[in-house]
């Protein structure tokens, strides 16, 4: 289970780092955080999971979206 999730994380990370469209990159990053939160939960770390979900998947995504609203979504 953990292995599958980790492989998905690697996929999402590559997706975020390679995509030319920043918005899809940000969504991939958000999904990355969400899956890491699931891994934390599976590793018996509920506190870290709740933090990662609230902060990593929530706030960070909002900050990123705010940023590309000011810059445009092309990675130029």
């Amino acid at each position: 289970m953990e292995t599958t999730l980790l492989i998905m994380l690697i996929g999402l990370a590559s997706c975020a780092l390679l995509s030319k469209d920043l918005l899809s990159g940000i969504i991939a990053l958000g999904a990355f955080s969400l899956f890491s939160a699931v891994i934390f939960l599976l590793s018996h770390a509920p506190d870290v999971a709740i933090t990662e979900a609230a902060v990593g998947a929530g706030l960070t995504t909002i900050i990123f979206v705010w940023a590309i609203r000011h810059t445009g979504r092309d990675d130029r």
């Binding site: 918005l23 770390a45 509920p46 506190d47 870290v48 999971a49 709740i50 933090t51 609230a54 902060v55 929530g58 706030l59 909002i62 979206v65 705010w66 590309i68 609203r69 000011h70 445009g72 979504r73």
Partner: protein, 231 residues
């Protein structure tokens, strides 16, 4: 096509992979000394059943102080850079809801989407706020605590703001309120750190008979601190 990943660079990264391999794959058993002490003493010393909270706000509350201060100054730094941006661009007075949509999505025929957003956020917002307060107050018993709860409350507020497309940013008033909450939370946290110094001679020690009060208080202060910080 991608000039930044030529073979030489991939080789360099591969060498790093080999060099750091032993650190990641080390097979030594994980140390248990700290866990055993904590399992024995944490609840007695701090009053928190959640041992992570006991660590975070008891044994290592000093790290948490550093963390909240990072949050405080990163926020004020970000704000000061952002205020430079606003000065340069004309669309200062866009509604907050549009702040989170991209350029081409500002058009009128996306109204339906906004309407949907309005209804959903209006219903979910209060529940999120309630849940946030629950997480803050129960940090010593269950997973979560001030930081997480604060972040959840902040998301709830962002939901409210998103759901209300007609509201303009009353930036001046809002900023003052935020500053007030933020500074008072910092004051309370600092008091929580320093008052024990004069009561018991230790910084950040737990001065109460009922130990969990201190943890709940710290959780609340951090929640207060985070909540405006996340806007």
């Amino acid at each position: 096509m991608k000039r930044w990943s030529n073979p030489a660079q991939i080789l360099v990264s591969f060498i790093f992979l080999l060099l750091f391999l032993p650190l990641f794959l080390s097979q030594e058993p994980w140390p248990t000394a700290a866990r055993d002490i904590l399992a024995e003493e944490a609840e007695k010393q701090t009053g928190a059943e959640n041992i992570v909270s006991a660590m975070y706000l008891g044994y290592r509350a000093f790290d948490t102080l550093g963390e909240t201060i990072v949050l405080l100054i990163a926020l004020s730094g970000t704000m000061s850079v952002v205020s430079l941006l606003k000065r340069n661009s004309e669309d200062v007075r866009t509604p907050v809801s549009l702040d989170f949509s991209l350029e081409e999505e500002k058009r009128a025929h996306h109204r339906l989407r906004t309407h949907l957003l309005e209804v959903v956020t209006g219903k979910i917002g209060p529940i999120i706020l309630l849940f946030g307060f629950y997480v803050v107050m129960h940090g010593h018993l269950s997973p979560g605590g001030g930081f997480q709860g604060g972040a959840i409350i902040a998301s709830g507020i962002i939901f409210f703001v998103l759901g209300n497309p007609h509201r303009r940013e009353e930036s001046e008033i809002q900023r003052t309120t935020l500053h007030l909450i933020e500074s008072s939370a910092f004051l309370l946290f600092l008091l929580a750190a320093l008052v024990p110094l004069f009561m018991t001679g230790e910084v950040l020690a737990n001065p109460f008979e009922a130990k969990e009060i201190y943890i709940i208080a710290l959780n609340t202060f951090i929640g207060l601190k985070v909540e405006p910080g996340s806007h």
